[in-house]
């Protein structure tokens, strides 16, 4: 357990990438895996590592996120001493509340960083999903005497259209990073940053001051890449499962990957529970003629029809005669009698009326916007 680090989660605004899923919410607040929001994974990793001081940097559209995290109760972070800190942009009459980059965001929360009593800072994004603790990473950081340690995983597969904040690392045989590429046209390395960066708090403060004094706002390019020679930056190789929610396609694929037992076991490890907001839903109810295959179903669902290869969030209703295949249905979606849906993503509270058929492709799932009635 780590007791000398605090966490900062940046819920940046890559909202355009996920299209209508992020019309009124940040990526961090996008529903994932039947009962979670993306940020639950990073929050749980940190809490399971022993961190009790976590700051969440938000952009202007942070209402869903605030609603979801609340006082941090579910993560045991409702504390007077440390705990969960929502760090919204400093909105004044003159400032609309959007950051130009992570450095600016970090600069704006320098008060929070200064007040944090822990020695190390763990900086993380919110669009990368995995389940681990950072204990080994910190140990390696101390052992190697690194200034900065970046968590990475190996990914051979490359889809240019999913490329977003793609930081590639070149490492020497001892794990030290010798070079980096940001969103390279043709990646020169399979080692991709997992968007978790560890360093001493004082170094973080210095680097942020330094960069913002020079009008530099991008953490990857302006802070990490510029300092690759000057500072000892090491990679920490994470070998577990990693999903990145960069595009509607990767969002769809990452949810569907949960139907794989190995992925499920990695992400929902009993050792490292994933905490999320509790809704006090009733257990899911299967009707007398229901058919369910290869699906993930959350509490509060009522399944009277057929589902196959689906991820159903809390409180989804599948009426008799309705068929869902390869679909993701978010909280409170209603699929009425005799509908036939395939490769559809239903956002929260979508209603599909009696007998409608909708069908997308694996590579192009249909996305129904929050609250829409079809």
């Amino acid at each position: 357990m780590i007791n000398n680090a605090f966490g900062i989660i940046y819920t940046g605004d890559n909202s355009l990438r996920l299209k209508d899923l992020t019309y009124s919410r940040s990526v961090a607040a996008v529903p994932f895996g039947g009962r979670y929001r993306c940020i639950d994974f990073m929050m749980s990793c940190m809490v399971n590592s022993g961190l009790t001081n976590i700051g969440v940097i938000t952009q202007k559209n942070y209402h869903s996120l605030m609603d979801h995290l609340g006082s941090g109760k579910e993560w045991d972070l409702h504390r007077k001493r440390d705990g969960l800190f929502m760090l919204p942009p400093f909105v004044t009459r003159d400032n609309v509340g959007l950051y130009r980059g992570t450095v600016e965001a970090l600069k704006s929360v320098s008060g929070y960083i200064r007040r944090s009593a822990q020695r190390y800072a763990i900086l993380a994004g919110s669009y990368t999903i995995f389940n681990t603790t950072f204990c080994d990473m910190l140990e390696q950081h101390v052992q190697t005497g690194a200034d900065i340690t970046i968590m990475y995983n190996e990914e051979q597969h490359f889809e240019p259209e999913d490329q977003y904040e793609d930081l590639r690392l070149m490492l020497d045989e001892r794990g030290r990073i010798t070079d980096m590429e940001y969103n390279p046209y043709r990646p020169g390395s399979p080692y991709k940053s997992c968007d978790v960066i560890l360093m001493e708090k004082t170094l973080l403060e210095y680097l942020v001051e330094e960069a913002s004094a020079h009008g530099q706002y991008q953490f990857s390019q302006d802070v990490l890449m510029r300092n690759v020679a000057k500072l000892k930056i090491y990679g920490y190789h994470y070998t577990g499962y990693v999903a990145r929610l960069n595009s509607p396609n990767s969002y769809f694929a990452a949810n569907m990957a949960l139907l794989d037992k190995d992925v499920r076991e990695e992400l929902f490890s009993r050792e490292h529970p994933v905490y999320t907001k509790v809704k006090d839903e009733v257990p899911a109810r299967y009707g007398p003629s229901s058919v369910a295959h290869n699906s993930i179903v959350a509490d509060g669902c009522i399944i009277d029809g057929e589902i196959e290869n689906c991820v159903l969030f809390r409180g989804v209703y599948v009426a008799q005669g309705a068929k869902l295949k390869n679909c993701i249905a978010m909280q409170g979606a209603q699929i009425q009698k005799n509908c036939d849906l395939s490769y559809v993503v239903l956002d929260k509270s979508v209603i599909v009326k009696r007998g409608r058929s909708l069908s997308g492709y694996k590579s192009f799932p249909v996305l129904l916007k929050k609250g829409s009635i079809v």
Binding site: V282, P283, Y286, S289, D299
Partner: protein
């Protein structure tokens, strides 16, 4: 402490011997029910939903389990700045302390707790009933009647009336007489074990009752009758919804099955009447490709690869490929291995049913089963491990001991 209009006292009771091995390690109110609840979630949620935010839970049994389950009360919204939920075991005082000798003695011993909030009324509840009830309406009824005590009543079949406290009322619902478990019941109005008393009045009667060495210090047997004798105003409050005493194996099983009716006999979906519970931190459940699930409740952390018919699966239950579960209650963390068959059974927490074992099998010759507690329902105790190919006959209570008996019978255990 700020004054409260009403304080609830929940008699969580003792080990509940009629539930047999289900309560060998936990107090009755902590027994799982309905896929993700525990029995005590129902009275606690009723309190919160009725705007009663101060609850004392009186337990005879070791208080640790309940303390651990209830915690600071946040799961039921009972982590209040003033009030909230408190577990109250009998504590040692003066010269040694004593067990609660009866229901009213339990309240008597905790008078100081109630007095802290100087309430006008006190609500007495039992910890082994499943129902949804607005105690606020009952309180308004009590106040309107200017009653000293109001007892919630339910119409029961006349042939079952002998199991309950039975009331006779006049036309204004004022109680004329009250008999605890009468042999020849004169009416079918049964007490639900839910009372509202004027607190100062109750204190007076409890004090007098404590001074009577012959008394059993019981509400039904002593307090209520003596109030009636003294001409206090006692009223009945008729209740008509779903109500079930889950104090026996049979009733616990059938109350679970009631949830599978269409529509369910007890509506858990009412957004204005949430049933709160301590939620397990588990992922959504998974239904595999070859699985069949019909007319069942399945909750977080379950994995179903086999078939589940007309059953209730609790958090983290696993049904492997080829296994068949029907008309059963599978408690948290229980594991039904490949090819096993479970029929009309209650499988307690973390029990493992080995491959191809049969639970609830027809009775083989030469095997005697004590089914006095279970009827034809088979019960497998918590943390039990039923061996591969074992056959547990209908009505059996499988514990380490009884299983030993079957083993000694040799061939009867394995097909």
């Amino acid at each position: 402490m700020r004054k409260k209009q009403i304080v609830a006292m929940l008699l969580a009771g003792g080990q509940g011997s009629r539930l047999g091995i289900l309560t060998s390690n936990m107090a009755k109110p902590a027994v799982p029910f309905g896929g993700k609840y525990r029995i005590i979630d129902f009275p606690l949620s009723n309190c919160v939903n009725s705007d009663i935010d101060t609850v004392g839970v009186l337990t005879q049994y070791e208080p640790l389990e309940l303390n651990a389950y209830i915690g600071n009360g946040q799961h039921w919204d009972l982590d209040r700045n003033n009030g909230g939920v408190y577990v109250l075991p009998p504590y040692v005082k003066g010269k040694g302390g004593q067990w609660y000798s009866g229901t009213s003695n339990a309240i008597f011993q905790n008078q100081m707790f109630v007095d802290q909030f100087s309430p006008k009324y006190v609500l007495i509840l039992s910890g082994d009933h499943i129902y949804k009830m607005d105690y606020g309406r009952m309180l308004r009824h009590h106040i309107k009647n200017n009653a000293g005590c109001t007892i919630a009543v339910l119409e029961v079949p006349l042939e079952e009336a002998h199991r309950f406290g039975i009331m006779n009322c006049n036309d204004e619902q004022r109680i004329i007489s009250f008999e605890e478990k009468p042999k020849e019941p004169k009416s079918s109005l049964a007490s639900m074990g839910v009372y509202i008393f004027n607190w100062p009045l109750l204190k007076k009667y409890m004090q007098a009752d404590e001074e009577d060495p012959a008394s059993e210090n019981d509400f039904g047997k002593n307090i209520i009758p003596s109030m009636l004798i003294n001409g206090e105003k006692l009223y009945a409050y008729p209740f008509s919804g779903y109500w079930k005493d889950v104090g026996t194996i049979r009733s616990l099983w059938s109350a679970n099955m009631d949830l599978l009716e269409d529509p369910p006999l007890l509506d858990l979906y009412d957004p204005t009447w949430h049933i709160y519970s301590r939620n397990p931190v588990l992922p959504p459940h998974y239904i595999a490709s070859g699985a069949k699930v019909e007319q069942s409740l399945v909750t977080e952390g379950c994995e179903v690869y086999g078939s589940v018919y007309h059953s209730v699966l609790f958090a983290g239950a696993v049904v492997e490929e080829g296994a068949q579960v029907s008309d059963s209650v599978i408690m948290p963390g229980a594991h039904i291995q490949k090819g096993a068959k479970v029929n009309k059974a209650i499988i307690d927490e973390r029990a493992i049913i080995g491959r191809n074992a049969v639970v609830g099998d027809d009775l083989n010759e030469g095997v005697k089963v004590d089914n006095s507690l279970t009827d034809d329902i088979t019960l497998v105790g918590s943390d039990m491990s039923i061996p591969e190919f074992a056959s547990l006959p209908k009505g059996m209570v499988a514990t380490r001991e009884t299983l030993g008996y079957l083993y000694m019978k040799g061939a009867d255990v394995r097909d």
